[in-house]
């Protein structure tokens, strides 16, 4: 079916060309980073994880969100999602690919990355993260490809795919739980040392992934003859709405525990993020923007007359996507390192090469997504004509 991605109009190839350009620039920056070391980024002794790991953390959530389509369709036979699940699974593939690329560019000695396999260390959560992410990628490739192939041939999916589909449901929850465990078990970082980290991650994932998916489906509808269906999109939007409400609720819970207990260690990181600490307040505008966007997004998704209008739907989904991106990426990962173990503040800003590499990886994800979606769209278009 891959040959279907090789047929496209000018706009299609123009888009692919743009992505390849972004990838090329980022790749050159990565060579520069390989040669000179990670010092070319904005990371420091105090903030030892930055944009790369932030993007990784966020994208694991986006990948996990495919389960929000799989559960209704395959466990509860929700027919409205029949034509749309594939787009969720393909989004998961693109997202997991990006996750793994972000890990690789963040590693100081990438040639040694196989050491994780040569010296398996089950007590290290990073070991499990590698396993579950690769497993999730394989599951989605198997399920997505074979179900789409069956659709193309106009036959029911082969029976052996079903176990993989059912496996993908707990597996999706596991990838994001394991990623949350990377943070939630570290005794020295009080912003992360909370039992609610995994639930927060999942809620935020189920808000961010489907909202991105809605935007992508609307885009698919506008550039092709395939119509995902109004009900499918509205159901997704309702998922986004409640997931985001729960996500914001969880954040408020963090505030309560921190500030009602008045324990300095618990308060400092949130103070830094939302008010500034010891005069350092670089991230404060970001966090309040995220909060504002969250409110806007929830309001739009909650009010049916707004949610049902495409323009508002786009605004609402974009708001929630951006809000969760700031909250999880920028806020959580950077904020966890501030203040440092000595309770001083070192701030962080990414450098140009760092941003270029990140954009290149997003472009690789977009390219993978473009190719996969092109194939899926062409199959769906054929089905709709028949």
């Amino acid at each position: 079916m891959i040959e279907r991605a090789l047929k496209g109009n000018e706009k299609y190839w123009g888009w692919v060309g743009l992505l390849l350009l972004l990838i090329g620039v980022g790749f050159a920056c990565y060579i520069y980073q390989l040669y000179n070391g990670l010092g070319i980024t904005g990371m420091s002794r105090d903030i030892s994880w930055g944009v790369y790991i932030a993007q990784f953390t966020y994208l694991v959530g986006v990948a996990a969100s495919a389960v929000m389509l799989v559960i209704p369709k395959y466990l509860h036979n929700y027919k409205k999602y029949t034509n749309v699940v594939i787009f969720g699974e393909f989004l998961a593939i693109a997202a997991v690919t990006m996750c793994m690329l972000f890990i690789i560019v963040d590693i100081g000695q990438p040639a040694r990355v196989l050491n994780v396999l040569l010296h398996p260390t089950p007590n290290s959560i990073l070991f499990w993260d590698m396993i579950v992410l690769n497993g999730y990628l394989i599951i989605n490739v198997i399920v997505g490809w074979n179900t789409l192939l069956a659709d193309k041939k106009d036959v029911p999916s082969p029976g052996w795919v079903k176990p993989f589909i059912y496996l993908s449901i707990p597996w999706a929850a596991s990838i994001h739980t394991v990623t949350a465990f990377l943070y939630a078990g570290l005794p020295g970082r009080h912003l992360w040392l909370t039992a609610i980290m995994a639930p927060r991650f999942l809620a935020s994932a189920f808000a961010s992934g489907p909202s991105l998916l809605i935007l992508l489906l609307l885009l698919v509808k506008s550039v092709s003859k395939f119509d995902p269906g109004k009900e499918a999109i509205q159901s997704l939007a309702k998922t986004v709405c409640y997931a985001m409400i729960i996500n914001v609720f969880f954040l408020c819970m963090e505030f309560f525990t921190a500030f009602y207990s008045n324990i300095p260690g618990h308060m400092y990181s949130l103070q830094y993020l939302f008010a500034g600490l010891h005069g350092h307040d670089r991230l404060v505008p970001w966090m309040w923007t995220s909060a504002f966007l969250a409110v806007v997004g929830i309001f739009i998704m909650l009010v049916p007359p707004l949610r049902k209008q495409t323009a508002y739907l786009v605004l609402g989904c974009a708001s929630i996507f951006l809000s969760t991106w700031i909250d999880k990426g920028v806020g959580l990962v950077i904020g966890g390192f501030i203040p440092n173990p000595f309770e001083t503040v070192t701030e962080y800003y990414p450098t140009f090469p760092e941003i270029a590499i990140s954009i290149a990886i997003w472009a690789i994800g977009a390219l993978v997504l473009t190719i996969l979606y092109k194939i899926a769209i062409s199959v769906r278009e054929e089905q709709q004509m028949a």
Binding site: G37, G39, S48, Q109, R112, H119, P120, E343
Partner: protein, 275 residues
């Protein structure tokens, strides 16, 4: 029996999966059994010294804060460590590499610090290094066992294996670890004579920290910082075996009040501060 090509391929595929999975399963069920190394790596897989077995030695450091802060502007321990181990002077504090350094009570014990710390101590700097915890979070999270706990208590670094993921740096509650953001040799350009030819440097992309000088301990010497302090006759750094009731460290811990950094985290540090 009629076996079709499909059936054969299915069987072959499943068998291959079993074969690939066997190694991982074996490793999971008996961690470290497949490794050629001895009990050290096996103990490291559990992240801590073997339970129930009293290790023969537990190395520890006692820092006499009161004596040290009387030695104003002394950096002998830091200089000894840096020159012994070829630790570069980076200049940019964001990228600095430090195994032992001096810091104040406010920064090292932020939970203990108050407005009413005595004038003798307030603002005065004293040495700090990796705590060589008994239950080190850094060892727990390292995905390759590049950092591991030795039976004698030292949390060791294997620079050959480190992939530079910096998970250990996120896990360490004490800020004891440094990463090589660039090639450290660059900082020695023009100053190659300062390099200690008996020790390596590190390379870019790996994490490093104090290791209690195992190459010196193997020769019966004390760590470089301790020796430098003794040379000055300041006697601020006392090093020894915590499991030996007659060692210097045990004797002084019986006499003086000591504190450790962030004890509530359960890491059980091996570095004691006499305040």
């Amino acid at each position: 029996m009629k076996a079709s090509r499909r059936e054969f391929l299915k069987l072959a595929g499943v068998s291959a999966l079993f074969g690939l999975g066997a190694n991982a399963a074996f490793e999971l069920l008996t961690p470290g059994a497949l490794e050629a190394s001895s009990e050290v790596a096996h103990g490291a897989a559990h992240g801590e010294a073997a339970e129930g077995v009293q290790a023969a030695t537990r190395w520890a450091m006692v820092i006499d804060v009161r004596k040290c802060i009387l030695q104003e502007d002394c950096q002998d321990c830091v200089l000894a460590c840096n020159s012994t181990h070829n630790i570069p002077t980076v200049g940019n504090p964001k990228e600095e590499i430090k195994w032992i350094w001096k810091d104040t009570f406010e920064h090292l014990f932020p939970d203990q610090h108050s407005q009413y710390v005595d004038e003798g101590l307030e603002g005065k700097a004293f040495p700090v290094m990796c705590n060589h915890c008994q239950y080190p979070p850094c060892v727990r999270v390292c995905p390759t066992k590049a950092t591991f706990k030795r039976p004698d208590g030292i949390v060791m670094m294997d620079m050959h294996r480190c992939i530079g993921c910096r998970f250990c740096m996120a896990a360490c509650p004490y800020g004891a670890r440094s990463f090589n953001w660039r090639d450290p040799r660059k900082y020695f350009e023009g100053k190659e004579a300062m390099l200690n030819p008996e020790q390596p440097t590190r390379t870019k992309g790996v994490v490093e920290k104090c290791t209690f000088c195992p190459e010196r301990l193997a020769k019966g010497l004390e760590p470089a910082c301790v020796e430098a302090c003794k040379k000055r006759k300041s006697d601020c750094l006392i090093f020894g075996n915590l499991n030996d009731p007659e060692s210097e460290v045990r004797k002084i811990l019986r006499k003086r009040t000591s504190i450790r950094r962030k004890p509530e985290l359960g890491t059980q540090p091996s570095v004691f501060f006499l305040v």
